[in-house]
Protein backbone atom coordinates (compact mmCIF):
# COMPACT_ATOMS: atom_id res chain seq x y z
CA UNK A 1 0.00 0.00 0.00
CA UNK A 2 1.26 3.47 -0.87
CA UNK A 3 2.60 5.08 2.31
CA UNK A 4 1.70 8.56 3.50
CA UNK A 5 4.84 10.68 3.37
CA UNK A 6 6.44 12.75 6.15
CA UNK A 7 8.56 15.58 4.77
CA UNK A 8 10.81 17.86 6.86
CA UNK A 9 11.44 21.22 5.22
CA UNK A 10 14.75 23.07 5.66
CA UNK A 11 15.22 26.76 4.97
CA UNK A 12 18.63 27.52 3.52
CA UNK A 13 20.47 30.82 3.49
CA UNK A 14 23.93 31.15 1.97
CA UNK A 15 24.30 27.39 1.99
CA UNK A 16 23.45 26.96 5.69
CA UNK A 17 20.26 26.01 7.49
CA UNK A 18 18.73 29.01 9.18
CA UNK A 19 18.00 29.73 12.79
CA UNK A 20 18.25 27.53 15.78
CA UNK A 21 17.94 24.08 14.27
CA UNK A 22 19.39 21.99 17.01
CA UNK A 23 20.66 18.46 16.76
CA UNK A 24 23.41 18.02 19.30
CA UNK A 25 24.69 14.81 17.72
CA UNK A 26 25.69 16.64 14.57
CA UNK A 27 29.11 18.17 14.22
CA UNK A 28 27.76 21.17 12.38
CA UNK A 29 24.12 21.84 13.08
CA UNK A 30 24.06 24.38 10.29
CA UNK A 31 25.09 21.97 7.55
CA UNK A 32 22.03 21.05 5.46
CA UNK A 33 23.69 17.84 4.23
CA UNK A 34 24.29 16.53 7.74
CA UNK A 35 20.85 17.55 8.89
CA UNK A 36 19.24 15.98 5.82
CA UNK A 37 21.17 12.74 6.36
CA UNK A 38 20.05 12.70 9.98
CA UNK A 39 16.42 13.09 8.92
CA UNK A 40 16.88 10.28 6.41
CA UNK A 41 18.22 8.03 9.18
CA UNK A 42 15.23 8.93 11.35
CA UNK A 43 12.88 7.81 8.60
CA UNK A 44 11.90 10.98 6.73
CA UNK A 45 10.39 10.01 3.38
CA UNK A 46 11.54 13.04 1.44
CA UNK A 47 13.21 16.36 2.12
CA UNK A 48 12.50 19.86 0.91
CA UNK A 49 15.26 22.48 0.79
CA UNK A 50 14.00 26.03 0.34
CA UNK A 51 16.56 28.62 -0.67
CA UNK A 52 15.72 31.92 0.96
CA UNK A 53 18.94 33.59 -0.16
CA UNK A 54 18.44 36.81 -2.02
CA UNK A 55 21.89 37.42 -3.49
CA UNK A 56 23.28 36.10 -6.73
CA UNK A 57 26.34 34.71 -4.93
CA UNK A 58 24.08 32.85 -2.53
CA UNK A 59 22.31 31.23 -5.47
CA UNK A 60 25.52 29.71 -6.75
CA UNK A 61 26.20 28.39 -3.27
CA UNK A 62 22.78 26.76 -3.32
CA UNK A 63 23.47 24.91 -6.58
CA UNK A 64 26.73 23.63 -5.10
CA UNK A 65 24.82 22.56 -2.02
CA UNK A 66 22.25 20.69 -4.14
CA UNK A 67 25.10 18.80 -5.78
CA UNK A 68 26.43 17.80 -2.35
CA UNK A 69 22.98 16.76 -1.10
CA UNK A 70 22.48 14.58 -4.18
CA UNK A 71 25.76 12.80 -3.53
CA UNK A 72 25.12 12.07 0.13
CA UNK A 73 21.40 11.64 0.67
CA UNK A 74 19.64 8.43 -0.35
CA UNK A 75 16.02 9.62 -0.33
CA UNK A 76 14.29 11.98 -2.78
CA UNK A 77 14.53 15.73 -2.29
CA UNK A 78 12.81 18.79 -3.68
CA UNK A 79 14.37 22.22 -3.99
CA UNK A 80 12.57 25.52 -4.18
CA UNK A 81 13.00 29.22 -3.74
CA UNK A 82 14.16 31.65 -6.36
CA UNK A 83 13.19 29.61 -9.40
CA UNK A 84 12.18 32.11 -12.08
CA UNK A 85 12.73 30.39 -15.38
CA UNK A 86 13.45 27.10 -17.08
CA UNK A 87 17.18 27.73 -16.85
CA UNK A 88 17.01 27.73 -13.04
CA UNK A 89 15.16 24.41 -13.15
CA UNK A 90 17.71 22.93 -15.53
CA UNK A 91 20.57 23.95 -13.21
CA UNK A 92 18.96 22.46 -10.10
CA UNK A 93 17.92 19.19 -11.75
CA UNK A 94 21.35 19.00 -13.36
CA UNK A 95 22.88 19.30 -9.88
CA UNK A 96 20.83 16.28 -8.81
CA UNK A 97 17.56 17.55 -7.33
CA UNK A 98 14.69 15.10 -7.85
CA UNK A 99 12.01 17.77 -8.02
CA UNK A 100 11.69 21.52 -8.07
CA UNK A 101 9.04 23.54 -6.34
CA UNK A 102 7.74 26.68 -8.05
CA UNK A 103 5.52 29.22 -6.35
CA UNK A 104 5.47 32.95 -7.19
CA UNK A 105 7.11 32.50 -10.58
CA UNK A 106 4.35 30.10 -11.62
CA UNK A 107 1.64 32.53 -10.48
CA UNK A 108 3.27 35.31 -12.46
CA UNK A 109 3.93 33.10 -15.48
CA UNK A 110 1.79 29.93 -15.52
CA UNK A 111 3.52 28.81 -18.74
CA UNK A 112 6.52 27.97 -16.57
CA UNK A 113 4.63 24.92 -15.25
CA UNK A 114 3.89 23.71 -18.78
CA UNK A 115 7.50 24.29 -19.83
CA UNK A 116 8.88 22.34 -16.87
CA UNK A 117 6.47 19.46 -17.49
CA UNK A 118 7.27 19.34 -21.20
CA UNK A 119 11.02 19.56 -20.76
CA UNK A 120 11.57 17.43 -17.68
CA UNK A 121 8.31 15.60 -17.01
CA UNK A 122 5.45 16.28 -14.60
CA UNK A 123 7.09 14.21 -11.88
CA UNK A 124 9.74 16.88 -11.23
CA UNK A 125 7.27 19.76 -10.99
CA UNK A 126 5.82 20.58 -7.60
CA UNK A 127 3.62 23.67 -7.59
CA UNK A 128 3.63 25.34 -4.17
CA UNK A 129 0.66 27.52 -3.29
CA UNK A 130 0.46 29.90 -0.33
CA UNK A 131 -3.17 30.79 0.27
CA UNK A 132 -5.20 32.59 2.91
CA UNK A 133 -8.84 32.09 3.77
CA UNK A 134 -10.44 35.49 3.88
CA UNK A 135 -13.92 36.73 3.07
CA UNK A 136 -15.22 33.23 2.40
CA UNK A 137 -12.58 32.17 -0.12
CA UNK A 138 -8.98 31.06 -0.40
CA UNK A 139 -6.78 33.69 -2.07
CA UNK A 140 -3.33 32.85 -3.45
CA UNK A 141 -0.40 35.01 -2.36
CA UNK A 142 2.94 35.90 -3.94
CA UNK A 143 6.39 36.34 -2.41
CA UNK A 144 6.07 34.19 0.67
CA UNK A 145 2.59 35.40 1.47
CA UNK A 146 3.26 39.12 1.17
CA UNK A 147 1.29 40.05 -1.95
CA UNK A 148 -2.31 38.94 -2.61
CA UNK A 149 -3.33 37.98 -6.14
CA UNK A 150 -6.57 37.61 -8.06
CA UNK A 151 -6.10 33.85 -8.08
CA UNK A 152 -8.20 31.52 -5.95
CA UNK A 153 -6.75 28.33 -4.51
CA UNK A 154 -8.96 25.67 -6.09
CA UNK A 155 -9.02 27.09 -9.61
CA UNK A 156 -5.28 27.76 -9.56
CA UNK A 157 -4.50 24.26 -8.29
CA UNK A 158 -6.71 22.80 -11.04
CA UNK A 159 -4.97 24.90 -13.68
CA UNK A 160 -1.57 23.85 -12.33
CA UNK A 161 -2.60 20.20 -12.67
CA UNK A 162 -3.84 20.76 -16.22
CA UNK A 163 -0.56 22.46 -17.11
CA UNK A 164 1.39 19.45 -15.93
CA UNK A 165 2.17 19.89 -12.23
CA UNK A 166 3.11 16.58 -10.64
CA UNK A 167 2.15 17.56 -7.10
CA UNK A 168 0.57 20.44 -5.23
CA UNK A 169 2.19 21.72 -2.03
CA UNK A 170 -0.47 23.77 -0.29
CA UNK A 171 0.41 26.02 2.66
CA UNK A 172 -2.45 27.57 4.55
CA UNK A 173 -1.32 30.99 5.75
CA UNK A 174 -4.09 30.90 8.35
CA UNK A 175 -2.69 27.73 9.89
CA UNK A 176 1.04 28.22 9.35
CA UNK A 177 2.94 28.77 12.60
CA UNK A 178 -0.19 28.45 14.75
CA UNK A 179 0.39 24.75 15.54
CA UNK A 180 -3.32 23.98 15.83
CA UNK A 181 -3.50 21.51 12.96
CA UNK A 182 -3.59 21.59 9.15
CA UNK A 183 -6.30 23.15 6.93
CA UNK A 184 -8.05 19.82 6.59
CA UNK A 185 -11.23 20.99 4.93
CA UNK A 186 -9.47 22.81 2.10
CA UNK A 187 -6.98 19.96 1.76
CA UNK A 188 -9.79 17.46 1.40
CA UNK A 189 -11.43 19.56 -1.32
CA UNK A 190 -8.09 19.78 -3.15
CA UNK A 191 -7.41 16.09 -2.79
CA UNK A 192 -10.84 15.04 -4.00
CA UNK A 193 -10.97 17.45 -6.93
CA UNK A 194 -7.46 16.77 -8.27
CA UNK A 195 -5.82 13.52 -9.33
CA UNK A 196 -2.22 14.46 -8.46
CA UNK A 197 -0.76 14.08 -4.94
CA UNK A 198 -1.34 16.83 -2.39
CA UNK A 199 1.29 17.81 0.19
CA UNK A 200 -0.12 19.56 3.25
CA UNK A 201 1.86 22.33 4.90
CA UNK A 202 1.22 24.72 7.77
CA UNK A 203 -0.16 24.01 11.19
CA UNK A 204 1.58 20.90 12.53
CA UNK A 205 1.81 21.11 16.31
CA UNK A 206 1.03 17.62 17.57
CA UNK A 207 1.12 14.05 16.32
CA UNK A 208 -2.67 13.94 16.12
CA UNK A 209 -2.53 16.75 13.54
CA UNK A 210 -0.70 14.39 11.21
CA UNK A 211 -3.24 11.59 11.57
CA UNK A 212 -6.02 14.15 11.02
CA UNK A 213 -4.42 15.55 7.86
CA UNK A 214 -4.19 12.06 6.37
CA UNK A 215 -7.68 10.90 7.36
CA UNK A 216 -9.79 14.08 7.34
CA UNK A 217 -7.60 16.12 4.98
CA UNK A 218 -6.95 13.18 2.62
CA UNK A 219 -3.44 14.53 2.06
CA UNK A 220 -0.84 12.28 0.45
CA UNK A 221 2.05 13.84 2.35
CA UNK A 222 2.59 16.24 5.23
CA UNK A 223 5.37 18.79 5.45
CA UNK A 224 6.62 20.51 8.58
CA UNK A 225 9.67 22.44 9.70
CA UNK A 226 10.08 23.77 13.21
CA UNK A 227 8.29 20.92 14.94
CA UNK A 228 10.94 18.54 13.61
CA UNK A 229 13.88 20.95 13.87
CA UNK A 230 13.18 21.70 17.52
CA UNK A 231 12.51 18.02 18.18
CA UNK A 232 9.03 18.63 19.51
CA UNK A 233 8.12 15.54 17.52
CA UNK A 234 10.55 12.84 16.43
CA UNK A 235 9.93 11.30 13.03
CA UNK A 236 10.29 7.76 14.36
CA UNK A 237 7.76 8.29 17.17
CA UNK A 238 5.42 10.05 14.74
CA UNK A 239 5.50 7.09 12.37
CA UNK A 240 4.91 4.67 15.21
CA UNK A 241 1.92 6.75 16.28
CA UNK A 242 0.50 6.88 12.73
CA UNK A 243 1.00 3.16 12.34
CA UNK A 244 -0.98 2.50 15.52
CA UNK A 245 -3.73 4.70 14.06
CA UNK A 246 -3.87 2.38 11.06
CA UNK A 247 -2.27 4.84 8.64
CA UNK A 248 0.16 3.33 6.13
CA UNK A 249 3.63 4.75 6.70
CA UNK A 250 7.09 3.51 5.79
CA UNK A 251 8.74 2.10 8.90
Amino acid sequence: MLAKRIIPCLDIKDGQTVKGINFENLRSAGDPVELGAEYSRQGADELVFLDITASHEGRKTFVDLVRRIARHINIPFTVGGGIHELRDVDKLLGAGADKVSVNSAALRNPDLISEIAQNFGSQVCTVAIDAKFDGGEWTCYLNGGRIPTERKLFEWAKEAQERGAGEILFTSMNHDGVKQGFANEALRTLSESLNIPIIASGGAGAMSHFSDVFTEGKADAALAASIFHFKEIGIQELKKYLCEKGIAVRK
Binding site: L2, A70, N74, F120, Q123, N195, D220
Partner: protein, 198 residues
Protein backbone atom coordinates in the same frame (compact mmCIF):
# COMPACT_ATOMS: atom_id res chain seq x y z
CA UNK B 1 34.74 -4.63 -11.57
CA UNK B 2 33.88 -2.60 -14.64
CA UNK B 3 30.39 -1.11 -14.23
CA UNK B 4 28.90 1.01 -16.98
CA UNK B 5 25.86 3.27 -16.87
CA UNK B 6 24.32 3.74 -20.31
CA UNK B 7 24.21 7.40 -21.29
CA UNK B 8 21.28 8.41 -23.49
CA UNK B 9 18.62 11.13 -23.65
CA UNK B 10 16.96 10.31 -20.33
CA UNK B 11 17.18 12.29 -17.11
CA UNK B 12 18.26 11.22 -13.65
CA UNK B 13 21.28 9.23 -14.77
CA UNK B 14 23.59 10.94 -12.31
CA UNK B 15 21.43 10.01 -9.35
CA UNK B 16 22.10 6.33 -10.04
CA UNK B 17 25.80 7.15 -10.28
CA UNK B 18 25.58 8.89 -6.89
CA UNK B 19 23.80 5.84 -5.45
CA UNK B 20 26.56 3.56 -6.71
CA UNK B 21 29.24 5.85 -5.27
CA UNK B 22 27.55 5.59 -1.85
CA UNK B 23 28.07 1.82 -1.94
CA UNK B 24 31.65 2.24 -3.13
CA UNK B 25 31.21 1.56 -6.85
CA UNK B 26 32.80 3.84 -9.42
CA UNK B 27 30.86 3.45 -12.64
CA UNK B 28 31.55 4.89 -16.07
CA UNK B 29 28.71 6.80 -17.71
CA UNK B 30 28.96 6.25 -21.45
CA UNK B 31 27.01 5.85 -24.66
CA UNK B 32 29.95 4.16 -26.37
CA UNK B 33 28.89 0.76 -27.76
CA UNK B 34 32.30 -0.89 -27.32
CA UNK B 35 32.62 0.24 -23.70
CA UNK B 36 29.10 -0.98 -22.96
CA UNK B 37 29.80 -4.37 -24.56
CA UNK B 38 33.07 -4.71 -22.61
CA UNK B 39 31.55 -3.97 -19.19
CA UNK B 40 31.08 -6.59 -16.45
CA UNK B 41 27.79 -5.03 -15.41
CA UNK B 42 25.56 -2.64 -17.32
CA UNK B 43 23.02 -0.29 -15.75
CA UNK B 44 20.25 1.20 -17.88
CA UNK B 45 18.57 3.88 -15.73
CA UNK B 46 16.70 7.11 -16.28
CA UNK B 47 13.46 8.95 -16.23
CA UNK B 48 11.92 10.17 -19.42
CA UNK B 49 9.27 9.67 -22.07
CA UNK B 50 9.15 6.28 -23.80
CA UNK B 51 8.79 7.27 -27.47
CA UNK B 52 11.48 9.98 -27.41
CA UNK B 53 13.95 7.79 -25.54
CA UNK B 54 13.23 4.84 -27.88
CA UNK B 55 13.75 7.10 -30.90
CA UNK B 56 17.15 8.07 -29.52
CA UNK B 57 18.10 4.44 -28.88
CA UNK B 58 17.19 3.53 -32.49
CA UNK B 59 19.05 6.46 -33.95
CA UNK B 60 22.19 5.80 -31.94
CA UNK B 61 22.08 2.05 -32.52
CA UNK B 62 22.07 1.50 -28.75
CA UNK B 63 18.86 -0.54 -29.08
CA UNK B 64 20.72 -3.43 -30.76
CA UNK B 65 23.69 -3.07 -28.43
CA UNK B 66 21.48 -3.47 -25.35
CA UNK B 67 19.43 -6.38 -26.67
CA UNK B 68 22.59 -8.34 -27.56
CA UNK B 69 24.32 -7.91 -24.18
CA UNK B 70 25.21 -11.16 -22.40
CA UNK B 71 26.51 -9.75 -19.09
CA UNK B 72 24.08 -8.75 -16.28
CA UNK B 73 22.00 -5.72 -17.28
CA UNK B 74 19.94 -3.73 -14.78
CA UNK B 75 17.13 -1.46 -15.98
CA UNK B 76 15.71 1.14 -13.62
CA UNK B 77 12.41 3.05 -14.03
CA UNK B 78 12.15 4.05 -17.72
CA UNK B 79 14.92 1.50 -18.29
CA UNK B 80 12.51 -1.26 -17.23
CA UNK B 81 9.76 0.12 -19.44
CA UNK B 82 12.03 0.39 -22.49
CA UNK B 83 13.07 -3.26 -22.01
CA UNK B 84 9.41 -4.33 -22.40
CA UNK B 85 7.62 -5.16 -25.67
CA UNK B 86 5.57 -2.01 -26.10
CA UNK B 87 4.63 1.17 -24.25
CA UNK B 88 1.37 3.09 -24.35
CA UNK B 89 3.44 6.20 -23.68
CA UNK B 90 3.75 7.56 -27.21
CA UNK B 91 2.43 4.18 -28.44
CA UNK B 92 5.87 2.84 -29.23
CA UNK B 93 7.44 -0.59 -29.69
CA UNK B 94 10.27 -1.00 -27.19
CA UNK B 95 13.28 -3.32 -26.95
CA UNK B 96 11.23 -6.48 -26.47
CA UNK B 97 13.62 -8.08 -23.96
CA UNK B 98 10.56 -8.75 -21.81
CA UNK B 99 7.29 -9.63 -23.51
CA UNK B 100 5.33 -7.66 -20.92
CA UNK B 101 3.62 -4.47 -22.12
CA UNK B 102 3.63 -1.02 -20.53
CA UNK B 103 0.30 0.66 -19.82
CA UNK B 104 -0.92 3.91 -18.33
CA UNK B 105 -2.41 3.96 -14.85
CA UNK B 106 -6.16 4.55 -15.03
CA UNK B 107 -7.55 5.73 -11.67
CA UNK B 108 -10.57 3.90 -10.28
CA UNK B 109 -11.46 6.68 -7.85
CA UNK B 110 -10.16 10.09 -6.65
CA UNK B 111 -7.86 8.42 -4.12
CA UNK B 112 -5.87 6.87 -6.99
CA UNK B 113 -3.41 9.63 -7.77
CA UNK B 114 -1.30 9.51 -10.92
CA UNK B 115 1.71 9.61 -10.98
CA UNK B 116 2.18 6.82 -8.47
CA UNK B 117 4.52 8.86 -6.30
CA UNK B 118 6.01 7.82 -3.00
CA UNK B 119 6.92 4.71 -1.04
CA UNK B 120 5.26 1.37 -1.61
CA UNK B 121 5.90 -2.25 -0.68
CA UNK B 122 7.12 -4.95 -3.04
CA UNK B 123 6.15 -8.63 -3.01
CA UNK B 124 9.07 -10.54 -4.46
CA UNK B 125 9.62 -14.21 -5.25
CA UNK B 126 12.98 -14.54 -3.51
CA UNK B 127 15.05 -13.71 -6.59
CA UNK B 128 18.71 -13.00 -5.69
CA UNK B 129 18.17 -9.34 -6.59
CA UNK B 130 15.95 -9.10 -3.48
CA UNK B 131 18.30 -11.01 -1.18
CA UNK B 132 17.94 -9.65 2.37
CA UNK B 133 14.87 -7.58 1.43
CA UNK B 134 11.69 -8.30 3.39
CA UNK B 135 8.17 -8.26 1.97
CA UNK B 136 7.45 -5.31 4.26
CA UNK B 137 10.22 -3.06 2.93
CA UNK B 138 9.25 0.12 1.11
CA UNK B 139 10.71 1.45 -2.13
CA UNK B 140 10.42 4.87 -3.76
CA UNK B 141 8.35 5.14 -6.93
CA UNK B 142 7.58 7.95 -9.38
CA UNK B 143 5.79 6.83 -12.54
CA UNK B 144 2.58 7.15 -14.54
CA UNK B 145 3.06 4.04 -16.68
CA UNK B 146 3.59 0.48 -15.48
CA UNK B 147 4.60 -2.91 -16.87
CA UNK B 148 1.77 -5.43 -16.59
CA UNK B 149 2.30 -8.68 -14.74
CA UNK B 150 3.68 -11.47 -16.90
CA UNK B 151 5.87 -14.52 -16.98
CA UNK B 152 9.07 -12.51 -16.35
CA UNK B 153 7.66 -10.81 -13.26
CA UNK B 154 9.82 -11.46 -10.18
CA UNK B 155 8.17 -8.88 -7.91
CA UNK B 156 4.88 -7.03 -7.85
CA UNK B 157 3.56 -3.84 -6.32
CA UNK B 158 -0.12 -3.15 -5.87
CA UNK B 159 -1.17 0.32 -6.94
CA UNK B 160 -4.58 0.60 -8.61
CA UNK B 161 -3.80 -2.99 -9.67
CA UNK B 162 -0.88 -5.37 -9.13
CA UNK B 163 1.87 -4.77 -11.70
CA UNK B 164 5.53 -5.68 -12.28
CA UNK B 165 7.79 -4.03 -9.70
CA UNK B 166 10.66 -6.09 -11.12
CA UNK B 167 11.26 -8.27 -14.19
CA UNK B 168 13.94 -10.76 -15.09
CA UNK B 169 14.78 -12.85 -18.11
CA UNK B 170 18.19 -14.53 -18.41
CA UNK B 171 20.83 -11.83 -17.83
CA UNK B 172 18.33 -8.97 -17.91
CA UNK B 173 17.01 -7.52 -14.63
CA UNK B 174 14.86 -4.45 -14.13
CA UNK B 175 12.99 -2.60 -11.40
CA UNK B 176 10.33 0.08 -11.68
CA UNK B 177 11.20 1.77 -8.36
CA UNK B 178 14.28 3.90 -7.73
CA UNK B 179 16.79 1.91 -5.66
CA UNK B 180 19.10 4.94 -5.61
CA UNK B 181 16.38 6.93 -3.79
CA UNK B 182 15.03 4.15 -1.57
CA UNK B 183 17.25 4.59 1.46
CA UNK B 184 19.26 1.70 2.89
CA UNK B 185 17.04 -1.01 1.38
CA UNK B 186 17.48 0.52 -2.08
CA UNK B 187 21.25 0.46 -1.65
CA UNK B 188 20.88 -3.22 -0.79
CA UNK B 189 19.28 -3.84 -4.21
CA UNK B 190 22.13 -2.02 -5.99
CA UNK B 191 24.65 -4.04 -3.96
CA UNK B 192 22.83 -7.29 -4.76
CA UNK B 193 22.96 -6.55 -8.47
CA UNK B 194 26.67 -5.76 -8.30
CA UNK B 195 27.69 -8.59 -5.98
CA UNK B 196 25.22 -11.45 -6.47
CA UNK B 197 24.12 -11.39 -10.09
CA UNK B 198 26.56 -13.07 -12.44
Amino acid sequence: MNVVIIKYNAGNIFSVDNGLKRIGIEAEITGDADKIRAADKVIFPGVGEASTTMAYLHQSGLDKVIVDLRQPVFGICIGLQLMCAHSEEGNVDCLGIFEERVKKFVPNNPADKVPHMGWNTVQHNGNALFSGVSQEDYFYYVHSFFAEKGKNTIATTDYIQPYSAALQRDNFYAVQFHPEKSGAVGERILKNFIELIN
